[in-house]
């Protein structure tokens, strides 16, 4: 009692730097927006946005660098070794890298997009950073309470971000819908946690693992509710209905952000919960995840076929991708978990890339999100069309793109564990997906520009950087995921899952 607890404050550095960034952004906006000129230059909305984005970038890159460095040097640190709550092992470090990468790309995407939609407010970056810190907390958590804190810290800023286009009815609808459904999901999650605590008397994952009886019905109910809560967050069928409306209504940059990072954070946290806290009921979970994966893939892909709005189509495609990823959970081997991590990383590049094209084409307060808006893009804007095609091919899983390797390692893990039936279902579902992913190239290259198309916005520097980064990521992960010395990303993803299995 007399001894001061030996806390590893260093574990808070990455997340702390993001918090600091969030505060500085708020402060900076207040200071800057009151001035007419700064250092002799006129203060314009674009300029303010750029400065705030630069601040955010700095702190995000700092967090990214620290996590990557920690990942590469290996080892695991607990915030409080006596009572594990936050753990920085190779898994959470790599997870943070994935999440922060998605945040960084969306942050750059926002600068000119916000100006074009006339919703350029500094709070945006602050909220983005806060949500990111929530995701970081979520993937580091080894305790239900911290996990809950993380999920809330992640979700609440995103409710606000979804409604950031205040004057737009669809954006309001998205925010309200996401908020209501999200709160509902959180409540279910919390109920599950409460039940688990009730049966096991523990909130930390290790404690739950020790005390959870696989036959205890109340405990099983808790596990079920917990998974339902997660299923909402990752938009798995039948808990996916909010996804298309929210993705369509939210500003595109926000959609890009939430589609990759929320999914990544929720899935990564779920991996740890399942493997560290609930291995004793793993056998019962396998058929559950099997069914969720099958349903999600089929419904997501089939529904995406009939969409005429690109953002809605990408929303259902994101449901479908959640289905593929759930195969990794149904398989539940170290190999498949590594594949899930790689999949989420690949998904960051291809999905942000696709949304980046949509947002870069938005012009003067008008979104460019109907399929026919893309007609003739191939002739008028060949570069944009080529990039969009690349991202679509990657989402469809055509070789030499990140999406193919992601699917290959995932399916390989599933077949190795004997889940051939589910894998066959997955490839058939992705055949359906080819059809709707090809609709955009068809529009862009095989239809003439008409009165229906455009007008298309001009490409800004930020968007250009994001597009190039995403294309580079898609091609790099698709051709050399394990070739370049010092960048064996495929091995990294596999290794990152190892700590979850070492604990068993």
């Amino acid at each position: 009692m007399s001894q001061a607890p030996a806390l590893n404050l260093g574990t808070l550095l990455p997340i702390g730097s993001v918090w600091l960034g969030a505060l500085l952004v708020l402060l900076g906006e207040v200071l800057l927006s009151r001035r007419r000129s700064f250092l002799g230059r006129p203060v314009t909305p674009v300029w303010i946005g750029t400065v705030l984005a630069a601040i955010s970038t700095f702190f995000l890159v700092l967090a990214l660098a620290m996590s990557l460095q920690a990942f590469l040097s290996g080892g695991a640190v607990d915030f409080d070794p006596a009572h594990p709550m936050i753990e920085l092992d190779r898994f959470s470090n790599f997870a943070v890298v994935v999440v922060v990468l998605g945040s960084l790309l969306s942050c750059w995407l926002s600068v000119s997009y916000l100006v074009e939609l006339r919703i350029n407010h500094g709070e945006y970056y602050s909220l983005l950073l806060l949500a990111t810190s929530g995701m970081m907390l979520t993937v580091m958590a080894v305790d239900l309470v911290v996990l809950f804190l993380g999920i809330e810290l992640m979700s609440i800023p995103i409710y606000v971000l979804a409604g950031f286009q205040r004057r737009d009815l669809r954006s309001n609808e998205a925010a309200l819908k996401y908020f209501l459904v999200g709160s509902f999901a959180t409540a279910i999650l919390l109920y599950g946690m409460a039940l688990l605590y009730g049966v096991t008397g523990a909130t930390d994952f290790a404690g739950i693992h020790t005390h959870l009886e696989p036959t205890n019905l109340v405990g099983l109910a808790g596990v079920g509710l917990l998974i339902v809560g997660f299923a909402f967050k990752v938009s798995s069928v039948p808990f996916h209905q909010w996804t298309p409306d929210v993705y369509e209504g939210a500003p595109t940059a926000v959609t890009a952000y939430m589609s990759v990072t929320v999914k990544a954070a929720a899935f990564l946290a779920l991996l740890r919960v399942v493997m560290v806290a609930l291995p004793s009921v793993a056998l019962r979970l396998e058929p559950l995840f099997w069914a969720l994966a099958a349903l999600t893939m089929v419904v997501g892909n089939v529904m995406a076929v009939i969409q005429d709005n690109v953002k809605r189509m990408l929303a259902y495609s994101s449901v479908a991708h959640a289905g593929y990823i759930l195969i990794g959970l149904a398989t539940a081997t170290a190999e498949s978990y590594g594949a899930v991590v790689f999949y989420l990383l690949a998904y960051v590049f291809m999905n942000v890339g696709a949304f980046a094209v949509v947002s870069a084409l938005a012009d003067a307060g008008r979104e460019c999100d109907r399929i026919q808006d893309f007609a003739g893009l191939g002739q008028e804007r060949p570069g944009m069309a080529a990039l969009m095609t690349l991202f679509m091919l990657s989402l469809a899983g055509i070789p030499s793109t990140a999406g193919f390797f992601a699917k290959f390692v995932l399916f390989a893990a599933a077949v190795n564990a004997g889940l051939t039936g589910l894998t066959i279902l997955a490839v058939l579902a992705s055949l359906v997906s080819v059809y709707y992913y090809l609709r955009l190239p068809v529009m862009m290259y095989m239809r003439e520009r008409s009165a229906e198309s455009g007008p298309w916005g001009v490409l800004s520097t930020g968007e250009l950087v994001v597009l190039i980064a995403c294309a580079a990521g898609v091609l790099f992960l698709g051709i050399f995921p394990n070739v370049v010395e010092g960048l064996h990303v495929l091995d990294w993803a596999r290794d990152s899952a190892a700590p979850l299995f070492a604990a068993r």
Binding site: G378, Q379, P382, L393, I398, P399, S400, F404, F408, F411, A412, V415, N416, G418, T420, T423, I424, V427, L428, S430, L431, V434, Y435, L438, P441, V442, Y445, M446, P481, N482, V483, L490, D491
Partner: protein, 539 residues
């Protein structure tokens, strides 16, 4: 130096040029066309180096290159050629400059994108034929879809989008199931040898184990999805769509008719061969027992394809559709010869792949030339045009004869060998197939009569201009190998001998339940026991 990497150079040179074109600044269309033609000619020139350097007496792969790609996963960049892949690579590199020259005035919009897709398509096709790692094969196999999809969809005819999407989806259906089967084999290998490896064969001179050493359980020995019949079915579906075998052929007429001339030529000339090549290279040696079990099914479908393709051809009004359905019939012959599983049949089958590429490619070129003049392919629109276009008519008749299989022309050699092999294996299937030859003569000659002979009734046909210099050059180039194979096929057959025997040896050993890696000493007198073993199993 160049010698050691010649194969990679041939494979990637077109893609490299394509990427440079993509990044280059603005230039007149002539520059894009010229550079593309130059690049494809250079590729062809380099591939002649392969032809000359190839040692036909050696078994196994030559010009082998291997480099790590994903070392921990057993995925390597691994290329090499044997006689079969040599011929198909040559066919590809030979057809590409011809096609580019033939479509010189054909393509008017986005010329740069067009040559980009053509050149990247060439790399994807060659890459498929030279790949010795299953993963790499799959990558190139799928990659080929993308440029072809755009060539049909952007530069095609009225229903081009429908045709392009149908082509893409049909091919994907098969290849995705093949991917699952491939992963199953991958893990079977892992279970047996403890290493992840997707190399088809071991690097020459090493004792390492490769995919072909894997024992794939026959039905009843393991869970259903690990057994040969199912794995073979998955591979056969992927390849069968591409061949195309009836009833998976419905994408072909659409794709052929809607594609621009160059697309049709490449589609018929090379792409369809990827399916038959896949059967010989992968499906047969990997799953010999299942292949033999499935022979009656394949034979039935092949004969149906031959007869159905011929009959449907006969009633087409569109010249391109006639040629398209004739492809279904011809590829039926290729499948028939292949699954005869004897030297004559298999050798004829591979040779017929090349022949079909040449003569059907030439037919599509000729149809395209007429279409350029009249903007219609409707047979009824023509008649008596041998008068205004004598050179064109002579070439058309020559190519038609080659397609029918007239002696002294290439088609005869292939079809003769195939029927020889098929008769030895199963007269019941060979006899109806022979009728296919007769039918081919019927529908093609009938079309020739309606187009070229008789009085010129349509006044528009009177003013038709005969072939220009560029068109003559294209046609002469493609007629040379047609005559060469027809008169003196030995250089081609000689290069096939060793690799065909090797495939048959693998099938034979696999049938006997042994490891395919047995020493090669039992080569002498292989044919007789092989045939006996196969006849035994086929019953």
């Amino acid at each position: 130096m160049i010698d050691a990497h010649l194969l990679s150079l041939v494979t990637f040179l077109p893609l490299a040029v394509a990427l440079v074109l993509l990044l280059a600044g603005r230039a007149p269309e002539l520059v894009w066309k010229g550079v593309a033609l130059g690049a494809s000619l250079l590729t062809f020139g380099l591939s002649i180096g392969l032809w000359l350097g190839f040692d036909p007496t050696r078994t196994g792969y030559q010009f082998v290159e291997r480099a790590p790609w994903l070392p921990g996963w057993g995925i390597h960049y691994f290329v090499g050629i044997d006689g079969m892949s040599l011929l198909l690579v040559m066919l590809t590199t030979f057809l590409m400059p011809i096609v580019l020259l033939a479509s010189w005035n054909d393509v008017k919009r986005s010329v740069r994108s067009y040559v980009f897709f053509m050149l990247s398509l060439e790399t994807a096709m060659i890459g498929t034929f030279v790949a010795l790692n299953l993963f790499q094969f799959y990558v190139f196999w799928e990659l080929m879809l993308v440029p072809m999809y755009f060539i049909i969809g952007v530069w095609g005819g009225a229903r081009r989008v429908y045709a392009a999407v149908k082509f893409f989806l049909f091919t994907m259906l098969g290849s995705l199931l093949m991917l699952v089967a491939l992963i199953v084999v991958y893990y079977l290998h892992f279970e047996q040898f403890g290493t992840l490896n997707l190399d088809l064969v071991a690097l020459p001179g090493t004792a390492a184990r490769a995919i072909l050493d894997t024992h794939v359980p026959i039905a009843g020995q393991a869970v259903w999805w690990q057994t040969q019949p199912w794995l073979f079915a998955a591979f056969a579906l992927a390849f069968g769509v591409k061949v195309p075998m009836v009833p998976l052929h419905t994408w072909l007429p659409d794709a052929h008719v809607e594609a621009p001339t160059s697309g049709s030529v490449i589609l018929a000339g090379v792409l369809l061969k990827m399916g038959t090549y896949g059967f010989v290279r992968f499906a047969l040696p990997l799953f010999p027992v299942a292949a033999v079990q499935f022979t009656p099914v394949i034979f039935t479908l092949a004969v149906i394809g031959i007869l159905y393709g011929a009959l449907v051809s006969m009633v087409q009004k569109d010249m391109k559709r006639v040629v398209a359905y004739s492809s279904v019939a011809h590829l039926g012959f290729v499948m028939l010869g292949m699954f005869a599983l004897n030297v004559e049949g298999l050798e004829g089958s591979v040779l017929q792949m090349v022949n079909h590429g040449l003569s059907t490619g030439a037919l599509f070129l000729l149809v395209g030339m007429l279409y350029e003049r009249r903007h219609t392919r409707d047979i009824a629109e023509f008649g008596g045009i041998a008068k205004p276009m004598p050179v064109y008519a002579a070439l058309f008749v020559l190519v038609t004869m080659s397609s029918i299989g007239l002696p002294m022309l290439n088609g005869f050699v292939g079809e003769f060998l195939i029927l020889l092999g098929a008769f030895a294996r199963s007269p019941a299937f060979a006899v109806p197939a022979t009728f296919g030859v007769v039918l081919a003569a019927a529908y093609l000659l009938w079309m020739v009569r309606r187009i070229f002979f008789g009085p010129v009734e349509n006044p528009e046909n009177r003013s038709l201009i005969d072939l220009g210099l560029r068109e003559k050059a294209v046609m002469v180039a493609i007629v040379v190998p047609i005559l060469w194979i027809g008169i003196y096929p030995d250089p081609f057959l000689r290069r096939l001998d060793a690799s065909v025997l090797e495939v048959l040896r693998r099938v034979e050993v696999g049938m006997a339940g042994g490891s395919a890696n047995a020493p090669h000493a039992d080569r002498v007198g292989l044919e007789a026991p092989a045939r006996a073993a196969l006849a035994e199993a086929g019953r």
